[in-house]
């Protein structure tokens, strides 16, 4: 007499179409979910800040308006003039955090997209053909997954040399097996479904079945994963540039490197660590909140 059983019984007795349109139902659940709304607002805020950075930031990211106020022992904290204080070179911290959003968003979106494209390609190959192709692809994926993601990203980024591009490529490669495995699993499940069998029995060609039926019905969890990947990509990008593997240009503000640069001043100027750190957490949190709730909304299995 589990609760799920009771729910199932009561739900089946209710109007049948309640479970009907999954997508509309998911959207309806999402709109009424406070966590998803908060997540969405955080993301919207983050994206707006990134897009409008030149308008919002009081100073250029490489301007040094407070140059004269800096001494090795005194880095001024937040004030009416500089809300987030100044950094060790006398630059306005707020302006740098705002401009840093552009870098994070860029790295996050590009590496997620690259990772997704790579993963989808492998996943479609494995899921559509099965057999030997599937075995080979999945063994490669298994090997990649067995290496800790960040470690692999560091290795790849180091190999490619420190630059923004190599950070993006490194993170993308780390995410390829995640997407590949997810999509392949979904496609295998769909492949055994009745409507795919129906399409086969009608004599529909394999290509049409894969791209017309299997793929569109497998894609929802991939979208969820993409949202979640944005969160980890932002954190990983910060981590890589914290380790000095990011853009070589010190004038380009990047949250991870801003954190790295403040190590020496942690005791005297904690605000330098606080604000970029907070920015990373908030941006990642936004995508995580939305992604998790999106997952729950799309897949009733995860509903609590």
């Amino acid at each position: 007499m589990s609760l799920s059983e009771i729910e199932a019984a009561t739900e089946s007795e209710q109007v049948e179409q309640a479970a009907g349109n999954l997508r509309r139902e998911a959207w309806r659940r999402l709109r009424r979910d406070p966590v998803a709304i908060v997540g969405f607002c955080l993301i919207a805020f983050f994206v707006l800040v990134a897009l409008l950075a030149p308008l919002l930031a009081p100073y250029a990211p490489d301007a040094q308006p407070g140059r004269g106020m800096i001494t090795p022992t005194n880095i001024p904290g937040p004030s009416a003039q500089h809300w987030f204080g100044l950094d060790a070179s006398g630059r306005d911290e707020l302006s740098r955090v705002i401009h840093g959003a552009r870098q994070s968003l860029l790295v996050g979106v590009v590496s997620m997209l690259l990772g997704m494209i790579g993963g989808l390609t492998l996943g479609v190959l494995a899921g559509a053909f099965g057999g030997t192709v599937d075995s080979v692809v999945m063994r490669i994926v298994d090997v990649m997954l067995s290496i800790p993601g960040l470690l692999m990203a560091i290795a790849i980024a180091a190999l490619l040399g420190a630059s923004l591009t190599s950070v993006m490529i490194a993170i993308a490669i780390v995410n390829v097996p995640v997407f590949a495995r997810l999509l392949r699993g979904q496609m295998l499940a769909q492949r055994g479904s009745d409507y795919v069998l129906a399409a086969r029995s009608l004599g529909v060609r394999r290509r049409s079945i894969v791209f017309g039926h299997i793929l569109p019905n497998s894609i929802s969890p991939v979208i969820v994963q993409a949202t979640l990947t944005l969160a980890t990509a932002i954190i990983e990008a910060a981590a890589l540039s914290f380790l000095g593997l990011g853009s070589a240009d010190p004038r380009v503000p990047e949250w991870g490197r801003m954190l790295a640069d403040t190590q020496r001043y942690l005791a005297s100027a904690p605000h330098l660590a606080l604000f970029p750190g907070l920015a990373i957490v908030v941006a990642a949190l936004g995508f995580t909140m939305l992604g998790e709730r999106l997952r729950e909304a799309i897949d009733p299995k995860y509903r609590r």
Partner: protein, 361 residues
């Protein structure tokens, strides 16, 4: 269901539309950590002979796990047979590959049990019904064809722009049937076409299938666990148990004079919505469950549960389908003791028989 095969003493065996001989589907059981090797096989279908005459309806009845769905799919080459022969309209289907097989599919279609699962939730009805036309490069006015198909299955033309979830279960099954007849096939394999539907809807779909057969001259293989439905719709009924056919007969003959102990037990288990009948009929209860098809019993597959089991032959000699004196040629049974059981010389074990209830309170 106007087929003449029903009442004729012997249905014309000449030129059946579909002919199945010795069909086998064995699913390998693999084991091993690094190198997988085959350690056994699930004998889902294990040597089935079946003829489906043109324009007739053959019913295939059996319980879950007996292999009836696998048989239906193997006939359509939706699962690969591991042995035997299937010929359709004189063409051997087994060696067909790729494009040849795909073209052949136009002639043989399938109706599924769960109408919701068998429709892609993202396709509207228009797209569902034109997909087969597109797949086979059939031109013409697709819109008009969809209207015509919807009319044939009793749905309004306005259904074309709607999605599967907007319909009730019965309507969805009508869409599935419309899709199956879109290519004007000769044969339709209907796998449990009504069992997922509400009771009051089942008859609608049964009647629709019969009507379409009359109009379009279809040949049906109807697979179902419900003997009452099969008896209603089929001219000839084949009873399947653990991968093999145990009895095959014209529908009326099977009901009036079942020969195989399993058929008798199956019939006595089907509840009849009439208290008078229920209170007066004797039941044969089977003990235990279906044995595993990976390790089927020796001899007669049914001997482990058979209430009429004899000490000889049953457990070491596999019975084949044969005719029995006093029954039409078309009535065939796979039981060594069919004559003795029918004559009452062999009685079931007492524990298997439930006498009718005392007149109900």
């Amino acid at each position: 269901m106007t087929s003449e095969a029903a009442n004729a003493p012997a249905p014309e065996p000449t030129d059946p539309l579909l002919s199945v001989r010795g069909l086998e589907v064995h699913f390998p059981i693999r084991s091993g950590i690094v190198f997988e090797r085959q350690v056994g096989a699930v004998r889902a279908v294990d040597g089935v002979d079946l003829d489906i005459p043109r324009g007739a309806t053959v019913g295939l009845v059996g319980e879950s796990g007996c292999g009836k769905s696998t048989l239906g799919r193997a006939i359509l080459r939706l699962v690969e047979p591991t042995g035997g022969r299937v010929s359709f309209d004189g063409v051997d289907l087994r060696p067909l590959e790729g494009e040849e097989l795909r073209r052949m599919r136009r002639q043989m279609q399938m109706v599924f049990q769960d109408p919701m699962a068998s429709l892609d939730p993202r396709q509207n009805v228009q797209s569902v019904l034109t997909e087969p036309l597109r797949a086979h490069g059939i031109g013409g006015d697709h819109k008009a064809r969809v209207r015509e198909l919807l009319g044939l299955v009793g749905l309004p033309a306005s259904a074309a722009s709607r999605y599967p979830h907007e319909f009730s279960g019965g309507q969805r099954q009508r869409i599935g049937i419309a899709r199956a007849i879109a290519l004007e096939p000769q044969l339709i394999v209907a796998d449990e076409p009504v069992s997922a539907l509400d009771v009051s809807i089942q008859a609608q779909v049964v009647n629709l299938l019969e009507e379409l057969q009359d109009r379009l001259g279809l040949t049906y293989l109807v697979i179902a666990h419900d003997l009452a439905v099969v008896r209603h719709i089929a001219d000839v009924v084949a009873v399947m148990y653990l991968g093999t056919l145990v009895e095959q007969a014209p529908s009326d003959d099977l009901y009036a004079r079942p020969l195989h102990p399993y058929t008798r037990a199956l019939m006595s288990a089907v509840p009849i919505p009439d208290p008078v009948v229920e209170d007066t009929r004797e039941r044969i209860l089977l003990s235990g469950d279906l044995p595993s098809p990976a390790n089927p019993p020796s001899g007669c597959r049914f001997h482990t549960r058979c209430p009429f089991r004899q000490p000889t032959r049953c457990d070491d000699e596999r019975p084949v389908l044969r005719t029995v004196a006093g029954h039409p040629q078309a009535h065939r049974v796979a039981c060594h003791w069919a004559e003795d059981i029918e004559a009452g010389r062999i009685q079931p074990v007492a524990s298997a028989v439930v006498e009718p209830d005392a007149p109900a309170a």
